[in-house]
């Protein structure tokens, strides 16, 4: 029974993984990747690690892949025919990398034969929420905290990259004659104590100075 389930989920995982690289449509690849994650979660459940299974679904299938699908939908990627020139370099590299990977797997398989550990069937609490929590907040506290700081850095970096550019947001409207902007708002390099006001006469002029699209976004 267990063997049957294992074959089912492992087969699903491998099949979906193959589909990820074989599909032309990026959205199909993303969906296949979700399939891989869910099959892996099922395998974790079979290994009596329900917490890791649930986290796998929540974090990978639920959060990360939603973002990936979101981005693919937002960009609406067309099916691009890749030029042969790019593949020329990639194919030998891929072959070498695949050979290394296969060698590693073979090494592990050989080592498994040498250092065989007899499977224990007695129930342990490894993989349950309680043991993971107590270990994570005592013995592995430092790596745990470092990981969270790493994630925080990533968030701050993403914010910095996203906010780079004009001082005004993309949604800002420029109304000629109605507002007078200090020069520092238009040119960040000119920011100083003396605020020079720049008067604009037309929408086009103000938009050119601010570097934004002056047309109403609704009709574009």
């Amino acid at each position: 029974m267990l063997a049957l389930l294992f074959i089912l989920f492992a087969g699903l995982a491998i099949g979906c993984a193959l589909a990820v690289v074989a599909q032309r449509n990026p959205l199909y690849s993303a969906i296949s990747l979700i399939g891989v994650f869910i099959s892996l979660a099922c395998l974790y459940v079979m290994l009596a690690a329900p917490f890791i299974a649930a986290v796998q679904v929540i974090v990978y299938a639920g959060a990360i892949m939603v973002l990936v699908v979101f981005v693919i939908m937002l960009l609406n990627v067309e099916q691009v025919e890749h030029g042969r020139t790019r593949l020329k370099f990639l194919v030998p590299t891929a072959v070498v990398l695949a050979a290394i990977l296969i060698a590693e797997v073979a090494f592990i398989l050989v080592s498994v034969q040498e250092f065989r550990v007899t499977a224990t069937t007695n129930a342990t609490d490894i993989g349950l929420t309680h043991s993971i929590g107590s270990q994570l907040f005592t013995r592995y506290l430092l790596p745990f905290e470092i990981t969270s700081i790493l994630l925080l850095m990533a968030i701050v970096g993403a914010m910095t990259l996203a906010r780079r550019g004009g001082l005004l947001s993309q949604m800002a409207r420029v109304i000629p004659g109605a507002q007078q902007f200090p020069l520092s708002m238009i040119d960040p390099k000119a920011a100083s104590d003396d605020l020079t006001l720049v008067e604009t006469d037309s929408t086009e002029e103000a938009a050119r100075l601010l570097g934004v699209d002056h047309r109403d976004r609704d009709d574009s």
Binding site: N25, L27, I31, P50, F51, A53, A54, G62, A63, T129
Partner: protein
């Protein structure tokens, strides 16, 4: 042989649960239309059967018989897959909720727990499956090859990602109080004080945040931006018709039911009916029956709140929605964790 019987029993229990849930959902739709009617000073559907009791079946028949239209340039496979994902993800969480205590069958010594699947990480399972449900809507929006659908799908993804954070954080307080992720044990912990030690008493802020975020997660008024008909026709399901539309409709109402069950389980004591154990013996059949009815009454109360809100509140604007989620709800959820953790720290022996 025993495992075969076990599996057969589980299948039977799941089937019964699904049928009951679908019936309740069907009548939630009817209740919504009737209650909205009364709120708006009209009658609502009352022609099919006595007082409209057969209306859900008439609607179902209509959905089945309508023409099933597939847009010409849709991505066919995903177009068919999306409603299936939405409905399946909505139904799958149904099996972990304990809807009653352990009961003893009369005249025998067999005790059965009134829960289908006992799961060590039941709460995480619910959150995980719920987070997968967003694909149904997002993929439906994308595969329809329609600008309105795409906008609806994108809005919905953004909204669900934003409010999932507040939803998850608002549950941390309850997890701290209960010290477990097992839904059955969370309910057991609320059984003290003759079944009146509900977690809402210690974590009211978390409850409010959860309720708000849950309404947003299920795309209901006032957070029903993905299907704002004045802006997006019908949002992500603009191109869906007949039974495929019915599946989305069903998924929305099942989701309402699920988050109501979760709110009941975590904050309102689950199946605990206060002071009923003074009159009835714990573990007896009658006690189980009263508890199960109590559970259902609490869930129906939440469903009524949903309908009531729909008849009362206008819709948010999208930027208001995002501001509210990130700048109000998320800090409030963090505050509720802080307050609960402080409570537990100050009175460590009490919980």
């Amino acid at each position: 042989m025993d495992t075969a019987i076990d599996i057969a029993l589980k299948f039977a229990a799941i089937t019964v649960a699904f049928v009951v849930v679908l019936l309740i959902v069907a009548y939630t739709v009817l209740a919504e239309r009737r209650v909205l009617g009364f709120i708006q000073g009209r009658l609502g559907p009352n022609r099919v059967g006595y007082g409209g009791v057969l209306q859900p079946f008439a609607d179902l028949l209509k959905f089945i018989l309508k023409e099933d239209i597939v847009p010409d340039k849709s991505t066919r496979f995903i177009y068919f897959l999306a409603p299936v994902i939405a409905t399946m993800a909505a139904l799958m969480t149904m099996i972990v909720y304990p809807f009653g205590p352990e009961i003893r069958i009369p005249f025998t010594s067999i005790t059965i727990p009134l829960v289908i699947a006992h799961f060590d990480v039941g709460l995480l399972y619910v959150l995980g499956i719920t987070s997968v449900g967003v694909y149904g809507i997002a993929l439906a929006g994308w595969s329809s090859n329609n600008k309105y659908s795409l906008m609806g799908g994108l809005r919905s993804s953004a909204q669900m990602i934003s409010y999932e954070l507040a939803l998850g954080l608002s549950l941390i307080g309850v997890i701290l109080l209960a010290g477990t992720l097992d839904l059955a044990q969370i309910v057991e912990r609320q059984s003290a004080w003759h079944g009146a030690r509900w977690f809402i008493l210690f974590n009211p802020l978390g409850f409010i945040v959860y309720l708000t975020a849950a309404i947003a997660e299920t795309n209901r008024v006032p957070f029903d931006l993905p299907e704002a008909e004045t802006e997006l026709v019908a949002g992500f399901h603009t191109e869906y018709s007949a039974m495929k539309f019915a599946l989305f409709f069903l998924a929305e109402y099942i989701n309402m039911f699920t988050v109501s069950m979760l709110a009941t389980t975590l904050f309102l004591g689950g199946w605990n009916v206060p002071f009923v154990d003074l009159f009835l013996e714990r573990g007896s059949f009658l006690f189980g029956l009263v508890s199960a009815i109590g559970f259902l009454v609490k869930v129906v109360f939440f469903l009524f709140i949903y309908i009531w809100l729909r008849g009362t509140l206008p819709r948010f604007r999208f930027d208001q929605l995002m501001d509210f989620g990130w700048k109000t709800l998320l800090p409030l959820a963090l505050l509720s964790i802080f307050i609960t953790a402080t409570l537990i720290f100050l009175f460590p022996n009490y919980w």
